[in-house]
């Protein structure tokens, strides 16, 4: 466990000293700020964070892979993975350490976006339920997106490939609920249920449904599991 902590701590330090992370943060805050204010210009503005969440989850399809692409792809590229994997460190400790680091950076971004919620609470009288639930949903969603990105970073030594593949997977999950209409029968149901949107929208409406929490946690667990197995596969015969 101490080694996982060491990995996480090292990655966190790199996040806070690397330009990529700051660029991602800047884009995230600038654009979500725009989404947030857009609705407020209406003649009858609503004190809500729904536009912010809607924009943020679309943006995170692009931003999450940018945060995770470096994590293992760079180790493979530099060859440092050879020293990492020949140290007495378990594969899951490496993956969890890296994952936690990306999660910490993401949570810092989320924390900064509390600014919007604070504005609403100060200048208006919003319904707190959807805001709390929305944040919970957004955190779960972001955590899932980072897990997807971590998997693709484990599979290649090319950061760009990692990012593009992760975006592809996230886009597929994002649009999966369209299968409800176009694929018939059980297959359509299954693919549709895999869609991220349907599970997220409940949260921003203020509904905390265990199904949705389980959905996101399963996605996270699934992709982390695959990441560990991918790392481990170097040792398979």
């Amino acid at each position: 466990m101490r080694t996982a902590q060491a990995v996480a701590w090292k990655e966190i330090q790199i996040y806070f000293s690397s330009p990529t992370a700051y660029i991602v943060g800047l884009i995230f805050l600038a654009l979500t700020g725009f989404f947030f204010t857009q609705d407020l210009g209406d003649p009858f503005p609503e004190a809500t964070l729904v536009p912010f969440f809607d924009g943020a989850i679309v943006m995170f399809i692009l931003l999450a892979p940018a945060l995770t692409m470096r994590l293992l792809a760079e180790e493979s590229k530099l060859g440092t993975i050879e020293l990492l994997l020949t140290s007495p460190v378990r594969d899951w400790e490496v993956i969890i350490g890296k994952y936690v680091a990306s999660l910490v950076f993401f949570l810092v971004l989320v924390g900064l976006s509390f600014f919007y919620a604070i504005l609403l609470f100060v200048y208006a009288d919003p319904d707190p339920g959807p805001i709390y639930a929305g944040y919970l949903g957004f955190i779960l969603y972001g955590a899932a997106a980072l897990a997807v990105g971590l998997l693709t970073s484990t599979m290649t030594n090319n950061q760009i490939v990692s990012a593009v593949v992760a975006m592809g997977i996230l886009l597929a999950l994002f649009f999966a609920d369209r299968a409800f209409g176009s694929v018939s029968g059980l297959a359509g149901e299954i693919i549709g249920e895999m869609g991220i949107r349907g599970h997220f929208d409940d949260f921003s409406r203020g509904v905390i449904d265990t199904t949705n929490i389980v959905y996101f946690l399963s996605v996270i667990a699934f992709f982390l599991f695959l990441s560990i197995r991918t790392l481990e596969s170097r040792r398979w015969r």
């Binding site: 101490r2 080694t3 060491a6 990995v7 090292k10 790199i14 000293s17 690397s18 530099l78 060859g79 440092t80 993975i81 050879e82 020293l83 990492l84 994997l85 020949t86 140290s87 007495p88 460190v89 378990r90 170097r234 040792r235 398979w236 015969r237």
Partner: protein, 282 residues
Amino acid sequence: MGFLGPNGAGKTTTMRILTGFMPPTRGKVTLDGYDVVEQSLEARRRVGYLPETVPLYTDMSVNGYLKYMGTLRGMPPKRIKSRLDDVIGLCRLGDYRKTQIGKLSKGFRQRVGIAQAILHEPQLLVLDEPTIGIDPIQVVETRRLIKDLGRDQTVVLSSHILPEVSMLCDRVLIIHEGRIVAEDTPKNLAQGLQGVDRLEVEIGGPAAEVLPVLKAIRGVNDVSHLNNDGRHTYTIQAQAGQDLRDEISKVVISNGWSLRGMQMVGMSLEEIFLRLTTHEEL
């Protein structure tokens, strides 16, 4: 132990298997009784490894990097602290503790690489081409360091620089295309392969007369002659185990020639290497 072979012989692959980075396709490797595949973690605790490319996190400081590697090796913080000073002194990195690794020259990076490999005092130290690509002065220093390290722990190093191996290693293992072609001490390898002893003799006298006389000595297999600006050097191949030096000097003197120099020539590792790894196809 030295690990020798031409490019693509399988040196790095073998080292990767030893360190648990890659599984062997067949067979089993045990380190101190621990199988590198089945009990990988235990085996890995006992190994320090420096890959050929010297992979380091370029954006970390020397200190930070070594601490990180120490933690990964499961060393308690106190031990890391005390070992850090030892290792930095040993690898002479004292002035560069706070320097970012990316700013160090190749030779210093190599030292950082060695420092991380010995930090946790492993029983087995695996160095893949430890002196490649650094300047000659640093090569000498690195070799001295490796030699010192070899007193306390087993060092396996790969190289294709043959004098280096014969200088540093008690045992040499030559591989070619994944197979061991020879294993012995550098000295025995030279003797065993040669089957003959070679003498280089410089004689002052007319070559035309000297040559047949030398050839007539009992135990001489062959003599070749080299005229280097009036310095006549003869290379004498003697039968194995025969020391002909006394005989030769007697003959030379009794003929009234002058004996200007004589030395035994062992076979260099290069020659052994070439002989073992090149197939002579007739």
